[in-house]
């Protein structure tokens, strides 16, 4: 069991072990220029019915992690293990089965829906692909799932094309599609960041409700720490392709150990007129390139607490300074 992975209470649905997803930078014609190390050594377990959240800035590799979990990208190293079975070893039939077990909710609902299909067609696709042969059953399931995502009556929507729906409705269709095969796991990659503030909450609540009523495991990926507490049980903070801190939500919000998490918490404002009066302390610089990440701790060039000779040379392992609270930082050694 990898060190930074608190074990779930009710059995492991999905286990990520030492996962690396690198992308080759190709030169035109021949040769290669290097790799983008989008996911570079990630471990965690996800229990049945558990909701977890990945938080990180854009480019930290969280979307790649999501796509690797979903089998869209093949891991360069390490394994995605679903119900004890390694994804890498799946045949294409097994992969299809796996895809019926997972759902995917993306950031941009309009982009996630094929523009040339109407809602009915979009929802039929997974059923057809997974060979639900009976037409009536398909219709029944389409209507059921539409009701579940609160698009009622379904007939008002089924013949519509995505561009005729509002952003919130589009995202409901996306959720409906991801739910229609009755999956065990939903990966939601920034499901609300493109939506307006008033709709965001609605969609998050819908997801939460579905998670609880169906005992779904949900992996919620976001850059927005403030929505996390309303949604998930555990938080994984990612920085430069690695998970730097993991803890149950409340623990983490109460006590953030990693300097990066600390900076993040500090930078996120709550709406308050007083904000205008003070300058914030923000770490300088920008996240490193994933082609040549800095040696040692990847945050060390920006870290206010950097220990010379240690942080800049050795990659920190995961420490567990508090129970179930893991952090990759030499400060907690």
């Amino acid at each position: 069991m990898p060190a930074n992975t608190p074990s779930p209470n009710n059995g492991t649905l999905l286990s990520i072990q030492n996962l690396h997803t690198w992308f080759e930078l190709r030169k035109w014609g021949f040769g290669r220029a290097g790799y983008v190390r989008a996911v570079d050594g990630v471990n965690f377990d996800l229990g049945y019915g558990e909701a977890i959240a990945f938080v990180g800035e854009s480019g930290c590799g969280k979307s790649t992690l999501a796509k690797t979990m979903l089998g869209i990208h093949r891991p360069t190293k390490g394994d995605v293990i679903f119900q004890g079975k390694k994804l890498n070893a799946f045949s294409s039939q097994e992969m299809q089965w796996y895809h019926s077990q997972v759902g995917y909710v993306q950031q941009d609902p309009y982009g996630a829906l094929p523009p040339f299909m109407n809602v009915h067609r979009i929802l039929s696709e997974p059923l057809l692909i997974n060979k639900v042969a009976d037409k009536d059953e398909r219709e029944q399931r389409i209507r059921d799932v539409m009701t579940e995502v609160k698009m009622t009556p379904p007939d008002d929507f089924l013949q519509k094309f995505p561009h005729m729906l509002s952003g919130g409705q589009q995202q409901r269709v996306v959720i409906a599609r991801s739910m229609i095969m009755r999956p065990k796991l939903i990966v939601a990659d920034e499901p609300v960041s493109m939506l307006d503030a008033s709709v965001r909450v609605e969609i998050l609540m819908l997801l939460r409700a579905l998670q609880q009523s169906h005992n779904l495991a949900v992996s919620y990926i976001t850059h927005d720490l403030s929505t996390v507490r309303y949604f998930s049980e555990r938080i994984f903070v990612m920085y430069a392709a690695r998970i730097v801190e993991t803890a149950p939500v409340d623990d983490l919000l109460r006590e953030h150990l990693h300097p990066y998490t600390q900076a993040l918490m500090l930078a996120i404002p709550d709406p308050d007129a007083k904000n205008a009066l003070t300058l914030k302390e923000v770490p300088p610089g920008e996240p490193p390139s994933l082609i040549n990440p800095p040696p040692g701790c990847r945050f060390h060039p920006r870290c206010p607490h950097v220990i010379k000779g240690l942080c800049d040379t050795q990659e920190p392992p995961a420490f567990e300074p508090r129970p179930k609270h893991f952090v990759e930082c030499w400060l907690y050694k």
Binding site: K27, W28, G29, A33
Partner: protein
Amino acid sequence: MSGTSRYILRRLIQNILLLFVITVLSFAFMRLAPGGPESFIGADDPKMSPDLRSRIRAEYGLDDPIPVQYWNWLSHVLQGDFGRSFIDQRPVLDKIAERLPATITLNLATIFVGLFGIPIGILAAVKRGGLFDRFMAIFNSLGNSVPHWWLGLIILIFIAAPTGLLPLGGMYTIGKENDIMDRLWHLLLPATIAALGDWITLSRYLRSSILEVIRLDYIRTARAKGMNERVVLWRHAFRNALIPIVPFFVFSIAGLISGAVIYENTFSWPGIGRMAVQAAFQRDYPVVMALTIIGSFLTITGLIIVDIIYTLVDPRVKYT
């Protein structure tokens, strides 16, 4: 070595491979031709005696195994020896070298005239919906629907011949080889007709490209900055609008070299294009082969030049 020159070096290497493929293709075609290679060297001439026939076979090495033949041929080509023309026994390269200046002159003139598409495109874009724009739209549609060589011929026969305003072809008036004005006068119609397609396409593309660029954010920013419209157009819009046009030049260059074949035949232009057609009828395979290879070489060189221009126009393009 900078990224760009490294890129160009690599392009060159690739292009050598590419030319190699082209040599294999053109050699293979000759072998595959119905009647075989003998048919090209007139071995089916009824007046030819059998011993002459076998002598010719031996001379052309037709009795060697095919890879050997190819290798022999290729090693000569690499030394710039494309063999002798079947028709007049002259070295093919000499024949081509003699014609190349004419073709290059016409092509450069064509490019030059074609560039007039740029102001037309700009004007049409700036005065979008105006009289000029609409006129050009009609002109372009009509101009695109007529084979241009045909148009050229009609002009020759119905305008140039009766009025004597334009020469009926040729590069210069015989006896006035050094008269620049006379040469330009002879270039006028061929270059214009040959450039017509480019003209039309270029102005159309540029127009839509400018219209596209004009509605981008940075143009709005430039306007918001209170720059006057001319500066906005020239400094901010034009260069950006050119970038998507660059691939057009790629096609244009390939088209030029091919187009020479047609227009040189229409306007009695003594370039390689005419030679190609003649060689085709004379089944002068060494010439056709060499022209294909040299035409490819020219095209590829043109494409590399376009690439370099690309880096000049667009700082974002850094080849690695």
